[in-house]
C-alpha cells in the first residue's frame, strides 16, 4: 500500500522510513513563521521565563500583519516589540508591514515542495498549495517550536478531493471551498485534505492557495496539493530555484485514502455562506436580494492580485451602489504595486472602492472596516463567525471576489454571472 504526500513529508521530517495514520511522531521543523499577533509578543516573555533563545534564527520568518498599521498605543507597542525581538535574536527574514504573512511567505518563495513548516496562525495551511506540509499552531506551541525546533504530530488520515471540468465565468476557487465546507463539514481534525484533478491543475497558484487556506475552515490539519510545473514556475517567479527533486513529492497511486470525493466544476454555481459559519452555505440564488451595508475585499484568502482582478472585471464601467460601501484591503504591498501597475486599482477606485492598508484588518475585527451592530457585510474573507468582524449582531456573508463585487454594485447579494454575461 502506498503513501500520501503528507505522510511522506511527515516521515521525512520525523526521520522515519514511513508513518502510519494515528501514530505520534516528533518532526523537525524546516521553517517557522511567526506573526505579530501570536509571535514575539507572546513568545518573548516565555523565552525569558525559560532563560533560552531561539533554536535557529535562520529558520524563523517573522511578518507584521495583524496590527498594521498601528492605530493606537497598544498596536504600536506590539509592533515595536516585534521589531525589538527581530533585532535581539538576529532574525534575518523579517517582513515588516509588507502584507499578510501567508501571502508574503509565498511571494518570497519560502514554501517549497516536501518541506515541513509551522506557522503561528490557523491559516498557515495556505502554504500547502506548494506541495509542503504547513500547519497552524497556537503561540504557546510555537514557543516550543522556536526553542526546540521540533513538534509532535499525530499522523493524520488523508482525504482526496478531486475536481474536474471548467468553471463558468464568474465562478472561482472560493466557491469550491464554500461548497466543500457544506459537503465535508467543518470538523475534519486529524485529516489532511489533498486536492487534485484537472480543475486544480489548470488553476494559478493564487487560486490553489484558496483551497489550502480554507482547509482551516474544514477543520483539517492542513490542505495540500501535489506540485507541478505551475508550482515550480511560481517559486522561480519568487526568485528561488526549486529543489531538483521537487516534483517527486507526490502521493503514491495506491495511496489508501480515508475517502475520495469527486466534484464537477462545470456545474458549480457561485456560492455564499450565510451567518454565522462557513458551512452555512448554498448557491448565491438562495441569498440573492439581501441588502448589504458593506462589501469587503480583504484577508489572506481574498485580496491577492487575481482577487482584485476579479473585482475589477465586475466593476469595469460600473459604480458601487449608493448606501453600500466597498472596502478593499490588498493582501500585500506587492499586490498593491502589481494592481497599480496593471490598472486594476484604478478601475476599483474609479468605481468608488475605498482603499485600506494591507494587512489582516477587518477580517478579524483588528483593523479598519469593523462592523456596527446589525450591519450586513458580504466579504471575500474566510470566516463569518458571530462577532468576527465587529459587533455580535453584525451579519457576515462570505462569497468570492466576483460575488462581493457584484453585490457592491447592486447594493444587495447578487449573482456575478448576471453582470459578467
Amino acid at each position: 500500500m502506498g503513501f500520501s504526500l503528507q505522510q511522506k513529508i511527515l516521515a521525512r521530517a520525523a526521520g522515519q522510513d514511513s508513518v502510519t495514520p494515528g501514530e505520534i511522531v516528533t518532526c523537525k521543523v524546516d521553517l517557522a513563521m511567526l506573526l505579530d499577533s501570536g509571535g514575539p509578543r507572546r513568545i518573548w516573555p516565555r523565552l525569558k521565563e525559560l532563560g533560552v533563545g531561539v533554536w535557529d534564527p535562520d529558520k524563523i520568518v517573522i511578518m507584521t500583519d495583524h496590527f498594521t498599521p498601528a492605530v493606537d498605543a497598544e498596536s504600536a507597542a506590539i509592533l515595536k516589540l516585534t521589531r525589538e525581538f527581530v533585532a535581539e535574536f538576529k532574525i534575518r527574514n523579517f517582513f515588516d508591514m509588507q502584507g499578510i504573512g501567508h501571502v508574503v511567505l509565498a511571494e518570497q518563495g519560502f514554501v517549497q515542495p516536501g518541506m515541513f513548516l509551522c506557522g503561528g496562525d490557523s491559516h498557515s495551511c495556505n502554504g500547502g498549495a506548494y506541495g509542503c506540509y504547513m500547519a497552524g499552531f497556537g503561540a504557546i506551541e510555537m514557543t516550543g517550536v522556536v526553542v526546540t525546533g521540533e513538534i509532535w504530530i499525530q499522523v493524520p488520515e488523508t482525504i482526496r478531493v478531486n475536481w474536474s471540468g471548467q468553471f463558468a465565468h464568474g465562478v472561482a476557487a472560493k466557491d469550491i471551498m464554500l461548497l466543500l465546507c457544506r459537503e465535508l463539514g467543518i470538523d475534519n481534525a486529524f485529516r489532511v485534505i489533498e486536492y487534485g484533478g484537472d480543475t486544480i491543475a489548470a488553476m494559478p497558484m493564487n487560486e490553489r492557495v484558496v483551497l489550502t487556506n480554507m482547509a482551516a475552515e474544514l477543520g483539517a490539519e492542513t490542505g495540500i496539493i501535489e506540485p507541478d510545473d505551475t508550482t515550480l514556475a511560481a517559486i522561480r517567479t519568487a526568485g528561488r530555484e526549486p529543489e531538483p527533486d521537487a516534483l517527486q513529492w507526490r502521493s503514491d497511486p495506491d495511496t489508501n485514502y480515508l475517502a475520495v470525493h469527486a466534484f464537477d466544476a462545470d456545474s458549480l454555481e457561485p456560492q455564499v455562506a450565510a451567518p454565522h459559519s462557513p458551512d452555512n452555505s448554498g448557491a448565491v440564488a438562495d441569498f440573492a436580494g439581501v441588502n448589504v451595508d458593506q462589501a469587503y475585499i480583504g484577508a489572506c484568502v481574498g485580496a491577492k492580485l487575481t482577487d482584485l482582478q476579479m473585482v475589477a472585471e465586475v466593476l469595469q464601467g460600473r459604480t458601487v451602489a449608493a448606501g453600500t460601501r466597498l472596502l478593499v484591503a490588498p493582501a500585500s504591498q506587492k499586490v498593491l504595486r502589481d494592481a497599480t501597475a496593471d490598472g486594476t486599482l484604478e478601475i476599483l477606485t474609479e468605481a468608488g472602492a475605498y482603499l485600506l492598508p494591507t494587512g489582516c484588518g477587518a477580517c478579524a475585527a483588528l483593523g479598519a472596516g469593523i462592523l456596527a451592530e446589525d450591519e450586513v457585510c458580504i466579504s471575500s474573507t474566510n470566516r463569518n463567525f458571530k462577532g468576527r468582524m465587529g459587533a455580535n449582531s453584525a451579519e457576515v456573508y462570505l462569497g468570492s471576489p466576483y460575488t462581493v463585487a457584484a453585490s457592491a454594485v447592486a447594493g444587495r447579494i447578487t449573482d456575478p454571472r448576471e453582470l459578467l454575461a
Partner: protein, 166 residues
Amino acid sequence: MSALTGQAWVFGADVNTDVMAPGLYFKAPIAEMARHCMEAIDPGFAANVQPGDIVVAGKNFGVGSAREQAPMAFKHLGVGAIIAGSFGRIFYRNALNFGIPTLIFPEAAQISRGDRLQVDPIAGVVENLSAEQRYTIAALPEHLMAMVTSGGLMPYLKQRLAQDTN
C-alpha cells in the same frame, strides 16, 4: 493530577475561538479578554462561571483561529476541565499546552447545565454526580500525560531544558 469536581456549563457543536476570545479585545490583557469569553452565545458565562467548573460541549469545540487567548480565557476564569465530543485541532493542542485537562467525551448531550460533574483525566472517568451516571472515556493520551500533569508546556519545557543541561 486528581479528579476535578465542578458544575457543568453546557454548549453545543462547533463553538469557535472567535466566540471564546473576540477579536475586538485581542490587544487587551487576558483579564479583560476573559470577561468577554463566550459573550456572543452566553453573555452570563464569564461573570458566573466558578473556579473548578467544567465546560461541556458537542463536537468540534474550538474550531477556527489559532488564538491561544481562547483556552487562556477559560484558564483565567478557573475552568477545571473541558470535555467535548471532539475539538478543533489547534484549540485542543493549546488547551493541553496550558495544562487544562481536555478530554473527548462523546456523551456530552446527556449533561445538563448545572449538573455536578467529577472528571478524572488520568483514569478516564466522567461522573455526573447530579444524575448518578458514570462514563468511561479515553484518558489523556500517553504522549501528553507528562506534559499536562506537569502543568502544561512551559513547566514541561523547563524540565526538559534542565535535563539537557545535566
